[in-house]
């Protein structure tokens, strides 16, 4: 009795059943296409599942995880992914905030700017990657041509082990910032104009208004944006896959790309699942930590 009370809460049995009936289609889809695969993948992590031998799956305990600890390439992929995250979050969120502040002003062609900044978000990542590859070509690319005109030395960009990640960061931030800009914009519109009027009466300048009114008011929006950007950044795969194949010298190999290669190209589904499991746990811990940190500041 107690259990059912908790489950149904203060609603009557009939109402509850109807509610579940309405939820059912979505729940069934989530079960089959989200939860099912996740559980299957976690269970494969303890097997030697080889893609071409689906009928001969052996339980091998923690073998995959032992292997994982010694796998230098996987650690490199982890390191690269974190490198990407640390660089991309401030850059992308910062850019988004600046863009939002710019288009929030009442200026001419406002909508044109908004659409322009947002356009990369709706474009296919593959198309964007190929476009940037052309621009970034060390010999014949437009960017190096511009640098040469300015009297600066040509840069190797995607072909340098040290420059490849920052380059991908810049491209990704350029591509994704438009989306966060829209969310920031919604946040900005929600700040009551009276605050600014009151501040003006008190003699605050523009910078002070930004620092003491705009930023604190955007706090919740920023938390949301930080978390979504973090999750998206972990999933980085398309840009390195298309632009560099993970190179040069695996400098742009990311963890999701490595999981894909292990599972699909090397057909090692068991091992790929083990990496996925470890990766999922790390991501979960980081997201919990991030929420904690931001909450504590309140």
């Amino acid at each position: 009795m107690l259990k059912s009370k908790k489950l149904f809460g203060k609603y009557k049995l009939g109402e509850t059943l109807i509610a579940y009936a309405f939820l059912a289609p979505a729940l069934i889809f989530i079960l089959i296409f989200v939860l099912g695969p996740i559980l299957a993948s976690f269970s494969y992590a303890f097997t030697d599942y080889y893609l071409l031998r689906p009928n001969d799956i052996q339980f091998i305990g923690l073998e995959n995880f032992k292997y994982l600890i010694e796998d230098k390439l996987m650690w490199k992929a982890f390191f690269n992914t974190f490198q990407f995250i640390i660089m991309v979050i401030p850059l992308q969120v910062g850019t988004a905030l600046i863009l939002a502040l710019l288009v929030n002003r009442k200026i001419k062609f406002n909508l044109f700017f908004k659409v322009s900044f947002f356009a990369p978000v709706v474009m296919s990542l593959v198309v964007i990657s190929i476009l940037w590859m052309t621009l970034l070509n060390p010999e014949s690319g437009l960017i190096n041509a511009a640098l040469t005109t300015l009297g600066l030395p040509k840069q190797p960009f995607l072909t340098s082990t040290t420059q490849v990640m920052p380059t991908i960061v810049a491209v990704s931030a350029w591509q994704g910032a438009g989306y966060q800009m829209m969310i920031f914009l919604a946040g900005l519109k929600n700040i009551p104009a009276e605050y600014y009027e009151a501040a003006s009466l008190d003699g605050a300048n523009g910078w002070q208004k930004f620092l003491y009114i705009t930023l604190p008011s955007l706090k919740n929006v920023t938390v949301f944006i930080m978390i979504t950007t973090l999750i998206a950044a972990f999933k980085l795969i398309v840009q390195p896959m298309v632009m560099t194949s993970g190179g040069p010298k695996n400098s742009s190999l990311t963890i999701v790309y490595y999981i894909y290669q292990t599972g699909v190209r090397y057909r090692n589904v068991g091992y790929a699942s083990a990496i996925t499991l470890v990766f999922a746990i790390i991501v979960a811990i980081l997201i919990l930590l991030q929420r904690r940190l931001i909450k504590e500041e309140d």
């Binding site: 030697d48 080889y50 893609l51 071409l52 031998r53 689906p54 009928n55 292997y67 010694e70 230098k72 390439l73 909508l111 044109f112 908004k114 659409v115 947002f118 356009a119 978000v121 709706v122 474009m123 070509n137 060390p138 010999e139 014949s140 190797p156 072909t159 082990t161 560099t244 194949s245 190179g247 040069p248 010298k249 695996n250 290669q261 699909v264 190209r265 090397y266 057909r267």
Partner: protein, 444 residues
Amino acid sequence: MKKILSLLLACALTVSIVGCGKSTTGTSESGDSGTKTETTGGANGNGPVELKMWVHVTDDTDEGKSYAERAAAFNEAHDDIKVTVEFIPRDGGGSGYEDKINTALTTNQLPDVITLDGPNTAAYVDAGIIAPIDEYISKESRDDYLPSIIQQGTVDGKLYALGAMESSVALFYNKDILAKYNIEPGTLENPWTWDDLFTAAKTITEGEGYPALDMRFNDIGEWYIYAFAPFIWSNGGKIIGEDGLTAEGIFNSPEAVEALTFFKKLVDAGVVSVTPEENNFELGKSALYLNGPWAIPTLENSYPDINFEAMPYPVSPKTKELHVPTGSWQYAVTAQSKHPAEAAKLVEWMTNTESVVSITKAIGMPPARKSAVEFLPEYQEGARKVLLDQLAKGGHARPLSVIYPIISRNFQEAVEAVLYGDDPQTVLDEKVQVIEREAQRYKK
């Protein structure tokens, strides 16, 4: 303005509808098919044997059209067998088609005949996807294929797969630039050694002020092992042991180290660029270009001013033995097929002289059968003839191994590391550890 925004969004949200595959029964039987089956019939008079074949291209491509046409001709010629072709696009990186094979394997729904890429042969045999076809292919027929085709399709002494087309890599050169510096190109009897290549490239680079050689080092991926493994073979080395699993002492042999040291020498001397400019050979900037047959149509059609020719792949000065890249898609009978004899007939048909001529005409790859050349005038002269001749003389299939994708990756990484300045011996030793560790899973 709002309209534009919503239009953009609409574009983004539009889900492109991608078909999984299309089937066509390549039959051209007219109304009298009923009487046909009655008179000839199958073995038991129960109508024709139904075969299914999967190919890795869509039917609107030139390659797909050739396959459809040849399958239709097969049905025409065989009253007792009827083949249905399913066209499945490969998608990026070949995963679409191969995904479908993996899925069908789990559910026992493989067709009778599949196409497969050369390097997959060993893994597919190991997994029991494909069955041997030795008993169905006559000796005369077998001798007509290029040796590299047989090598590519043979695992543990048994023939599993046959291809209609080959591929290779030769050293394309700009005739005008070579003439300017009085450099004699290599020939099939007397190919350039590595030293010849180095000297020529150095002379031209110094004269032109531009790296003379383009080895497509920017094409990171399968290109590396495909195009550069012959340097090791020609030097008397190997990539992997006979079992396909032993790397120690082979992958890092002195022969392999020498080959990679030669790449380093080319890079250090500045005669080859690690990040070559797009189309530099086509634009007449570089004089020497390591590339495959697909480069020819581009050169002929889009860059008619470039006076090019091809010479055989360079050989090691130690052995002077010609080894050249090979490998392409082939046909195989699946182990799940209930009609292996008929399916093998189809495999042979799809790779017979007419089929080879048809596919070569469609996409220009070198023909897999010697008897096809007389019907292909373009392969009787010029760069294409060089490619074909060197294939017949020195074609060398990529290593057959269950862990081929791992070997390919580590080979690529090793060469890449050397190009970026690492020591060849150290890098190869390191990669041997990785391959050996991976091989451990399959050594039972």
